[in-house]
Subunit: 389 residues, 2 copies
């Protein structure tokens, strides 16, 4: 894998990750290679987005209300994630090169953004002690999994998947080193049903300057468990799932795929490394290699989840990489992928209404064992379709 | 208000709340008045729904996987919340009487259900200590706000609203006394956009046998605040909002309506009593009376939120009554209504994708002050439409 770091016309970082020689991209490595008339993004920005802390629950809410400079707007029908058109005089997308394998760049309209020189200390809204606010000084990146609009990640094969994993690991490592970052979150929203508007195969990477609520809950529990038992909660949960065996979907040498005992989504599976690693950056080559196969197996199985009802479908899903925090408690949490979908049955979505959205109280209308049974059939069907994956 | 308690053919409780004489319902007060061939719901049920605790986050997830007896199914086009048709030989809905004002009954397919005699202690899934489960021994009720399919709560007027508040208070009081209930949650999901399939004006009431995550977060924070300062957090937050004034929408003698300083939804307002009360059952007559006006003002304003863009619309919303816990910490939390909507702009919904659904980390693309500005215009328009509400 070759990594080439460059910058866009407005100063945003853009990084190519190429699979193998001959490298298809990475020639345009200077800022001037992006010919768009984009002014430096910080030029007309006095402050970045703010985040405020809810005084009742303690959660931080970034508020992307700052006015970004929107001089440059691509045509409405353009695909901003596509490679530049060969021979075109003007570049209407984000990527200056005419081909790429995997490319990562800073989001043009980020909800988390560190503005150079900005004081990131706490301020008080309306001068009230209870109303804490601070710059949402994080980072939002986009990761394009491949150059072609119509090809989904699931169909790209383990070699490309290995490059994506390499890019995730690289971004996790680099973003973890930025000032004030508490957690790096690599994820993919897939499918129109969850509001995805850009169909180009891509994911996102958030570097949060605070600990998100799910992680905070896990951290609190894992730390209490460590204090009470001297052991790591995530390690013991994996051991318990393996002992129980009732929801295990696949066991690799380095990874285990299972439906968690208290799955809250209509479709949910966790892909967990056997070794105690905090994040993607800590994976070794063997682990990354096996992951590149098991991850695609999982995505493929998702598409067959309702095979008995409608055959294969393009499953809408969220693939959510839970990584450990940067800072205190880091050794108490462990890398795991939470794959889930809102789809209760073909064409029928789970809505997050009063109980979920109001109280944060999820209610399932299936059981983890039912999910596991369907996933096992789906994995078999996916493997029969593409036995060499 | 007259309250009449009865039971349906399958043993579920059904309670009429009538506005004023002549009372329109409440004659059918015996179980035999429901003529449907419904067997007792507990007859063929050995156990109710289970809930499991996520070992990583600690959240309880009810799983409605038990097989309910579905002998009786009304026709697909029937409205099960309508009053019975006068003169009909057979009743195809849930309500035996031919008219009503407000009626509350136990949900036919509840995700929370206490089965008489069932042991509600913790069991361990697969015999694993870390995998806690227990009966989801709570209760789910439906509240119909009025007899007519096409009339929304917002248009029913303060007298009916007062009856609804009375019913909420009654149910909160009674459900709080049930064994093992930790919190009573009165809420309304309004609008197809959030997955509502029954268009009859109705809300729901959940009695949770566990403390939901939002409440748990608030309780933890409020308790720490009490320990540090000797004061109640919610009281001080209200005082701070009043001092700041920047997001206050309306001030009554007993209630204050404002956009919270860290609003996480595209549209959000809190309606908060000035007096320190734990729940709706603790409100006095004056407070209930004023609430019946201010609640409707809020709903009406929601419909004018985008008046500058599309005029009046039927705003999809969730009205979520945060009540205190039953048990330790009760004095640390305070009643408040969280009204919110997913609608970012007309026809454009906020989706809860990776950050929200995966990490629990909400991101706003507006500001509380922008929301407050729109709400103020909307309240003025709503009041101009119906100045006597």
């Amino acid at each position: 894998m070759r990594k080439t770091t460059t910058r866009m016309a407005d100063g945003r970082e853009l990084i190519y990750f190429d699979d193998s020689e001959p490298y298809v991209s990475g020639k345009a490595t200077r800022r001037l290679d992006d010919p768009r008339p984009l002014p430096d993004r910080f030029e007309s920005m006095s402050a970045g987005p703010q985040m405020r802390q809810c005084p009742l629950t303690g959660e931080w809410i970034p508020m992307a209300t700052h006015r970004m400079n929107r001089t440059f707007l691509p045509p409405a029908d353009a695909n901003p994630l596509a490679p530049a058109r060969p021979g075109a005089e003007y570049q209407d997308g984000e990527v200056p090169d005419t081909d790429y394998d995997v490319v990562v760049f800073e989001n043009r309209f980020p909800s988390l953004l560190a503005v150079p020189g900005e004081d990131t200390g706490i301020v008080h809204v309306d001068g009230e002690e209870l109303f804490a606010a601070a710059p949402a000084a994080g980072r939002c990146e986009v990761i394009c999994f491949g150059p072609r609009l119509e090809e989904n990640l699931v169909d790209m094969g383990p070699k490309r998947m290995r490059t994506v994993i390499g890019a995730w690991a690289d971004r996790t490592r680099e973003l973890s080193e930025l000032e004030g970052i508490k957690q790096v979150f690599c994820f993919e929203n897939h499918g129109e049903e969850i509001g995805v508007t850009l169909h180009h195969p891509h994911g996102q990477i958030y570097a949060y300057p605070y600990i998100p609520p799910r992680t905070a809950a896990m951290l609190q529990r894992a730390t209490a468990y460590r204090q009470a038992t001297g052991r790591q909660l995530h390690e013991d949960v994996l051991a318990a799932e393996l002992r129980a065996g009732t929801r295990i979907l696949a066991e690799g040498e380095h990874w285990v795929l299972y439906v968690p005992v208290a799955a809250k989504w209509p479709i949910e599976a966790h892909l967990v490394p056997r070794r105690n690693v905090p994040d993607l950056a800590a994976l070794n080559e063997d682990e990354k290699s096996e992951l590149s196969h098991m991850y695609l197996d999982l995505l493929a199985a998702g598409n067959y989840f309702f095979a008995d009802k409608v055959g294969k479908l393009n499953m809408p899903y969220i693939a959510s990489w839970n990584q450990s925090v940067i800072g205190p408690g880091r050794e108490d949490l462990r890398l795991h992928l939470q794959y889930f979908s809102f789809l209760r049955s073909p064409g029928k979505l789970k809505y997050l209404a009063g109980s979920e959205s109001g109280m944060g109280a999820w209610i399932s209308d299936t059981s983890p064992e039912n999910i596991a049974e369907r996933f096992r059939s789906a994995l078999a069907l996916a493997s029969a379709e593409q036995p060499t994956r």
